[in-house]
Structure formats: C-alpha cells, structure tokens
C-alpha cells in the first residue's frame, strides 16, 4: 500500500472509534419498528387529493381536451391544463445548485399541442377525495391525432426524420481525440470490432413518488416530498412564478432513489395545485404513474474497434456511442459525457478516438440512473476486453493486467486521477475468490466465469462547480447536532454525517442527531446523486466538526494545562493523551465553553475542484474530481436447452478509500450486484411505438430473493480518496462492473456472446442456434 502513502491526507488526531465500523445506522431503528414517515405518510386537515391525467400515445397532436365535466363534478377543487399556464415551463437539466450556465432545456409542464412520449401529462386534478379525483379523471376527454414518431436513435438521425428536439434530434455530442489512432491501428497485429447494446432500465424503487404541499402564512409554498434533490426548489419557484425564497422543499427519508428521484416529478404538480387552490394537496403516484412518470436509464449502442498486438498491448481504440435520449433532454448530455470520458475504461489507451451522440426519440425520456453513462461504457469496454483477449488467445485477466491504468497515469481525457488506482488488486482478489470451478451437474448445464473491472467517478462534473454545506454543533447537555440539506435516499447518507461528527468530537453515535433535507432550514448540501453525498457533504461535516473540535481541544488543553496536541476527544470525554486518567466528560467541557461564550458550532462549505468544460475538439481536461476502481467476478450456470442463466458465485472487490460504515458499504455492494444482475439478465422495458407495455412488477422483472446469490465482499481501503478520512464512494461503483461480468461469464459458459442485454433465455437460445448455423 506504499504507492499511496505518499499522497498524505488531512486527518485529525482520531482513533477511529466510529468510522469504519459496521454501526447500526441512525435511521435503521425507526424503519425497523415502523415509525419512519415517508413522503406519502403525511396528511393535513382540509387537504385535497391530486391526480395526473396522461396521454395514451407517444407521438401525437392534441386536438381537443375537454375538462368541463370534470370541473363541474362536485368535490373537484381545480383542474389545470396547459391553457392555464401558457408561459410556464419546467427545468430538466442540472438538478440543484450550480451557478454555471444551464443548458436551457426547459419543457412544457402539461401538453400544449404536441405529445412527445407515452404518459406525458395533459391535466392535473385536485379533489376532496381520491375517489372523486379518479372520477374526474374519467370525465376528462381528449382527442389525440397521431403524428409520425421516432422510436430508435438510428431513425432519429435519418435526414427525413421528424424533429422532436433541437434542429436534428441530436441533443448532445462529445468527442475525445488523443494520440494517433491511424498509426495505432497500423501498428496492431489484430483489430477487433464489436457492437454492444444496453437496454432501458427502470429504477424500481419500492416507494412510488409522493408528496404533500401547502401554502403557509408567509405565502411560502411548502412541499414535503421524496426526492434526491431538495434544491429543485429554485426550479419549482421559476416554474410556478414565485421568488426562490417562496418555495421550501422538505425531503423525507426516501424509499429508494437510484437516480430516479433526481429530476423533478410530483413536486411541480403539487406546487401548481396548492398555489391554484390555496389548500394543502397530496399526490401519490401509482406504480404505473411511476413507470411512466420518471426518466429511464439510457439505452446505448456502443461499437468498439480495438487494435492490439499479439503480446496484448492495446495500440488504438475507436469508440462510437449512440444513446436514446427519449422525448426530452433532461440529463442526457451529462449521461453521454460520462459514457464518453469512461469509454476505454480503466486501461491505458494512448491512441484513442471517441464519438458519442444522444438522439431524441418518442420513447420515455432518459436521465439519471446509478452509473450514469459510466455504467453503460463499462458494459461495452469490459465485454470488448474479453473479445479482444479471446481474439489473440490470451488469458482474459492477463490481457487486462497488461493494460490496466496505474496510479498516477492519465485517463482518456488526459486527467490524472489524484487517488490510488487499484483496479489490479481488485481484479486479482475477486478472480482468486471464485475458487475452484463448480462442476457441471449435467451435460446441458454449462459453467462459465467472467470478470468486470470498472472506473466510475465520484462527485459531480467539475465544470458544475459543486459545493456542499453542513453545520455541526454541540448542545448544552453535550449532545451533538448536525444540520445539512443532504437527502437520505436509503444508503445512510445522514447517518454517515453523524458518524463523521461523532468521530471528530469524540462522542458516540447515539449522542448525535442529524437534521437533514430541508431547503429552508438546513444548510444547502447539494444533491444526493453522482456518488457525491459522502465526498461532498461528508467533507463539509468534517470541516465543521474539525473547527468545533479545535476550539474544544484548545479549551480542554487550558483546563488540563497541557499542549492542545496532547488532548484527544473520545468516548464522550476529553482526555490527556499521555495521561488518559486526566479527563472530563464531554458535556462538562461543553458547559465550560457555553459559560465562556466559546462558539460551539460551525457552518462549513466544501468546494469540489472547479474546472472549465473539456476541450470541445479533443475532449481533454478534467471532468470529475476523482474516480473509484473495482472489479466484480461472476460464475454462472447456463442451461443450454432453456437458455436460463443462474448466478452461482458473485464476488465484489472495491477500493472504497475508507469505509465510514462497513455494513453500509457492504449493503451498497449487495444492492449494486442485484441491480446489475437485473440489468444484465431480466429487466426489460418493452415499448410498442413508444407505448410502455411493461408498467408493473409483474412484467418488469427485478431480481427476487429466489434469484440472487450471496455476494462476497472484498473491501480495499487505500485511504487515498478525496472524501473524509480518504473515503471515495461506492454507491454507483458497486453496480458498474456487474453486468459485463455476468455477460462475460455467460459467453465463457456457452462459447458465444449475446451482444444485447438483457441476456434473456430467448436471446441465449437464439445465440446458440445462430452459432450452430
């Protein structure tokens, strides 16, 4: 581990009494005994119940919309259509805070003339009861005139294609140009070209979108909602036409996000309805609403053309990426950018060209999803690594060994990640942990193994100039409070802040309460997206707690008449390091500070590195603060008669920098493995001309308790990350390498590759039949 020791790290004099342990999260007890209130669990006296009426075609002109009978229904408070908000639009890009120029891709909130995707909202209803709202929805009639649509990005690029966004449907394009690709291909002994297809994916969080909004005595629109981004309050204010300080968003503990609660969903409808009626309004999406009411993971078609020498050196790589942006822009440009900068993966490629395009279609709009383009890139580059290794007859791990990017080396954009690059040790450890191959129980059951190695950023794009704030303070009785706007979407984001404060102030976690996720009251912390919560807000909490700690240590040093360096805080007390019997309870130290007016709290801001956008011609520069590296190894059994794939072994190895809560890290890894398994094997959103055919969990098959293996966790701690105590982040990285590892294992088992995910039994059987001719 010596290669990163020299990086050094700013850690306080802490003994890790809290950090790194598998502690019970602060939010777990309430959830386990049924006390936690989610966004859909709040009511108010006199509240109305809302419903969204949606278009049932993907590409159409709205000829007629008649809401008169619905408005006349007793118990209906309001029905809103585009006619009531002709100048209103809603932002779709760059969630949350950033002072930087946005893409200005605002869109209609309700359909004005053109329907661009199946389920696009036509009208909003608020009524006295849910039953009346349902009845009102049935009384709304509309006429849609079909217009020709686009359902694949390839079709969207055709010269005569109908235009859905911009001037030519290309919502975004990025390139990387590095070295001399022609010379690199000329130098190659073998050139391997393959095309990989990745699918749409639904987040499938268990909690459908829900919220409750009301206007208070100061005319502030309050919205209690499940969201990853409370800082949408600005965009909501713009959308409904009030100043930014007149919208307050209170996030609840979120019942799963995965990127699917990153964009605005129910909150804009709630704001409009409560503003229109002056009454509290509640809106809960049904599961079908949820399926059509938030963006999906982008399908990508990715072609790799790799030049390689017989001894396994990559001499050139060209990557072409085509993504389905769906009907509205949302975060497509950023997802595409992640895919482009990660296109070659954690490998040294000196001669590289990448071209990525995201194209509008009349499919469901696509936006953030755990992995955010970096994951789709990995699905392609890791399958390509196997294809190239096979083409030159080299062991698949050995081929990777010869090309792994090492600590201190530049990635595709020329940027040198500042932390350890431990892909090699992750890959070796995961592969070794597979152990002896499982014997095949029958001739038609084939056993195969695969590995996926990954590079995934943590922290937002650096040209967004990301910041995060946290407040840490001690109450008079020695208990500790953390205040931060961070949203907790189920991974323990709030609890981790508590642990960091507890560690630095030397108290136990049960003495800390974290108040989070209120845009009006808690310091703004940014989004819970992009594997940034621990890195950004964790650092803000670290800075704030460190500042308080320094004042407390100084005062304790005065009390004990020793140097501050000789004081530590731990186990709810302050003590002299070289004479630990000399100690005082933490609460007594706080009481002294309070009586002397010593500031017992601190508000801190943490700033990520700020950069310009990548060079538009060459794609060179810094895109992210840093990257996390890991590997996932898989063993499968494939039934070649039915095409069924069973995962036998699943080993995850990740360098997380530093565990803050080991149980939470393992939990992220387990969840990532499951999410990646569904993506690789079973989850399929089927569309018929943009109409979603699979809007339920009976049709859209996420892995159940019957389907998943138990995952083995190998956790490396390089302590080299930019997060608190050297942490990186594991939310997205845990999922990124899983699907290609499975795909590689299936290909290894049956001797042919299924180039399109999900690798369903039908596709396996078809691939075997094609191979037989």
């Amino acid at each position: 581990m010596s290669d990163i020791d020299t990086l050094g790290h700013d850690t306080a004099n802490v003994a890790f009494r809290q950090v790194g342990k598998p502690l019970t999260r602060t939010d777990a007890p309430g959830k386990a005994v049924g006390k936690t209130r989610y966004a859909g669990d709040h009511t108010m006296p006199g509240m109305l119940h809302a419903k969204v009426v949606r278009a049932d075609m993907a590409s159409a002109r709205l000829v007629r919309l008649d809401v008169s009978r619905a408005r006349a229904l007793p118990g209906v408070a309001v029905v809103l259509t585009a006619a009531e908000m002709s100048d209103r639009t809603s932002a779709t890009d760059i969630p949350g805070q950033t002072g930087r120029q946005r893409l200005k891709t605002n869109q209609q909130i309700l359909v004005r003339e053109q329907v661009r995707y199946y389920g696009e909202p036509l009208a909003l209803i608020a009524a006295e009861t849910p039953d009346i709202a349902e009845e009102a929805a049935r009384l709304i009639t509309f006429e849609l005139e079909p217009v020709p649509g686009i359902y694949t990005p390839e079709d969207g690029l055709k010269p005569d294609a109908p235009v859905i966004q911009g001037t030519d449907n290309v919502v975004s394009e990025y390139r990387i140009r590095k070295g001399d690709v022609d010379a690199g291909f000329a130098e190659a002994d073998v050139i391997v070209e393959r095309t990989y297809k990745t699918p749409f994916q639904e987040h499938a969080f268990l909690e459908p979108e829900a919220g409750l909004a009301w206007v208070d005595e100061n005319e502030v629109i309050n919205i209690r909602v499940c969201t990853q981004v409370i800082e949408h309050f600005r965009a909501i204010a713009d959308a409904v036409g009030v100043p930014h300080n007149k919208v307050r968003i209170m996030g609840s503990l979120v019942g799963g996000g995965f990127g699917g609660k990153e964009d605005i969903t129910v909150e804009v409808y709630l704001a409009l309805l409560t503003k229109a009626t002056g009454r509290p309004v509640r809106l809960e999406f049904s599961r079908e609403d949820s399926f059509v009411g938030h963006g999906k993971r982008h399908p990508f078609t990715i072609t790799h053309r790799t030049g390689v020498t017989r001894d396994g050196r990559i001499t050139a790589l060209d990557v072409q990426i085509l993504g389905d942006a769906g009907a509205y822009v949302y975060l497509s440009p950023y997802v595409l950018l992640y895919c482009v900068v990660n296109a070659p993966g954690p490998y040294r490629v000196d001669n590289l060209t990448v071209r990525g395009r995201a194209v509008a279609t009349n499919n469901m709009y696509t936006s953030a999803f755990r992995g955010f383009g970096g994951l789709q890139a990995c699905a392609a580059y890791e399958q390509q690594m196997d294809e190239v290794a096979n083409a030159i007859g080299m062991d698949r791990l050995e081929f990777r060994r010869r090309n792994f990017l090492k600590t201190g080396e530049p990635m595709a954009t020329g940027f040198v990640p500042p932390s350890a690059i431990w892909t090699d040790r992750c890959a070796e450890a995961a592969w070794a942990a597979l152990g002896e191959p499982t014997p095949s129980p029958a001739p038609h059951i084939r056993i195969g193994r695969g590995i996926g190695c990954s590079q995934q950023s943590y922290g937002r794009l650096t040209f967004l100039h990301d910041t995060s704030e946290a407040w840490v303070g001690a109450e008079m009785d020695g208990t500790v409070v953390v205040r931060s706007g961070v949203t907790d979407i189920g991974a323990g984001q709030a609890s981790a802040l508590g642990q960091i404060a507890a560690e630095l102030l030397g108290v136990t976690l049960d003495n800390v309460v974290v108040y989070n996720s209120d845009s009006a009251v808690t310091p703004l912390a940014g989004t819970t997206t992009a594997t940034r919560a621990l890195y950004m807000t964790g650092n803000a909490a670290r800075l704030a707690a460190t500042a308080v700690r320094e004042r407390l240590v100084a005062r304790a040093a005065q009390e004990f008449e020793v140097a501050p360096e000789n004081i530590n805080l731990g186990d709810n007390r302050a003590f002299v390091i070289d004479d630990p019997e000399r100690a005082m309870p933490f609460r007594d130290l706080i009481a002294i500070c309070a009586s002397e007016g010593i500031h017992r709290s601190e508000l801190s801001i943490f700033r990520a590195p700020f950069t310009d956008m990548l060079d538009p011609e060459t794609g060179q520069g810094q895109a992210h603060p840093d990257y996390a590296y890991g590997a996932h190894a898989i063993e499968v059994a494939v039934d070649i008669e039915t095409g069924e794939v069973t995962i036998l072994k699943s080993i995850a190895a990740h360098d997380v920098g530093q565990c803050i809560n080991r149980a939470a890290v393992e939990g992220q890894i387990d969840g990532g493995a499951q999410n990646g398994q569904g993506y690789a094997l079973s989850e399929e959103l089927l569309f018929d001309e943009g109409r979603l055919l699979t809007p339920s969990f009976a049709e859209y098959l996420t892995p159940t308790a019957m389907d998943v293996p138990r995952v083995e966790h190998i956790i490396f701690e390089s302590r080299s990350g930019l997060g608190p105590f050297g942490a990186k982040g594991v939310g997205e990285p845990a999922m990124t390498p899983v699907a290609p590892a499975i795909a590689n294992a299936v290909a290894d088992a049956i001797g042919v590759r299924v180039f399109e995910m999900p690798i369903t039994p039908e596709r396996v059987v078809d691939a075997l039949a094609d191979a037989r001719g």
Partner: protein, 162 residues
C-alpha cells in the same frame, strides 16, 4: 354512500371500528386509520410492501378487501414491537444492515415473522421462498437473509429458555 359498511377488526391488539366502502382494500383502510407502517408499493400484489398478518398469516393487504377481514386479527410491523422492546426480527434487521431505504422492510419482516412461526429453523432455501413475494431494490437481500437467520436463532434461544 349506500355501499359503505361498518366493520370492526383488531389491529395490533386494539379493536378498531371503521366505515369503509365495499371496494376499500385493507391497505387503504389501515393507512386511512393511521397505520402508515403498512406501505403502498404497487397495489397489485407484486411487491409485498403492504404485507400484514391476518390471524398470524402474511397477506398482501392491497389484495384484501377490508370488509372481508371483519372480526379478524391484523398485525402490522409496528404491532411486533417498538424501539424499547423490538421483536428479534426488528432488532436483527437494524443491526445487520438489512434495512436500507426501509420501504420494503415492513412487508419483509411480516413475511419473515410468518415463516418463523411455521418453521423455527428455516434453511436458506426456506427463507428465500418465504420472501419471494417481497421485492427489495436496495439490499440485494443478502443482509436480509442474515437478519432472518439471526432472528430465528434468537427466537429458538428464547424458546429454549422459556
């Protein structure tokens, strides 16, 4: 309305009387009565988040009409224990990291409680089968299996001591 019925049932040990339309599901009736620990996930019986015990047997409350359980005994997650005195399943779920976002937790603990009442020493296959009607998206189920195994052991110890 004419189709409304007055029903009495027992929820977590307390008698509750509710006036419900004939089409009202047990899920809606319980949530309307303030039992927010019963979660609404799909309303189609696909996800199991709304599971409750009816006379000790786990059912999806979204597929059960409230009027059909008149006089029966309903137990929700909150009826199993509280923070001061958690049920062994609640304790092991919080300790092992089996709770992440927590939205599937009520239904999963209820399904596990049903399993352990029938089978005090389930193997992993039995646990998987018992939880196969409950979707979880955060945990990958691994720590949930651990929590159920540990709770089963705790309950067996309790029984041995009794």
């Amino acid at each position: 309305m004419s189709n409304e019925r007055k029903i009495t049932l027992t929820v977590n040990g307390s008698s509750r009387t509710m006036v419900v339309p004939a089409h009202r599901t047990l899920l809606e009736a319980l949530r309307d009565a303030g039992h927010y620990d019963v979660k609404r996930g799909c309303e189609k019986g696909d996800c199991g988040a709304c599971a409750v015990l009816v006379d000790g047997v786990a059912v999806d409350s979204c597929l059960t009409l409230a009027a059909t359980v008149e006089g029966h005994e309903i137990t929700t997650l909150a009826g199993l224990g509280d923070r001061e005195s958690p049920h062994p399943l609640q304790q092991t779920f919080m300790d092992t990291g089996a709770v992440q976002c927590g939205y599937c937790t009520p239904g999963i603990i209820i399904a596990a409680r049903d399993l352990l009442s029938r089978n005090p020493d389930p193997d992993e296959d039995a646990i998987r089968l018992a939880l196969s009607g409950n979707l979880c998206r955060c945990t990958g189920y691994g720590k949930i299996f651990e929590a159920v195994e540990q709770a089963a052991a705790l309950l067996r110890e309790e029984r041995a001591e009794a």
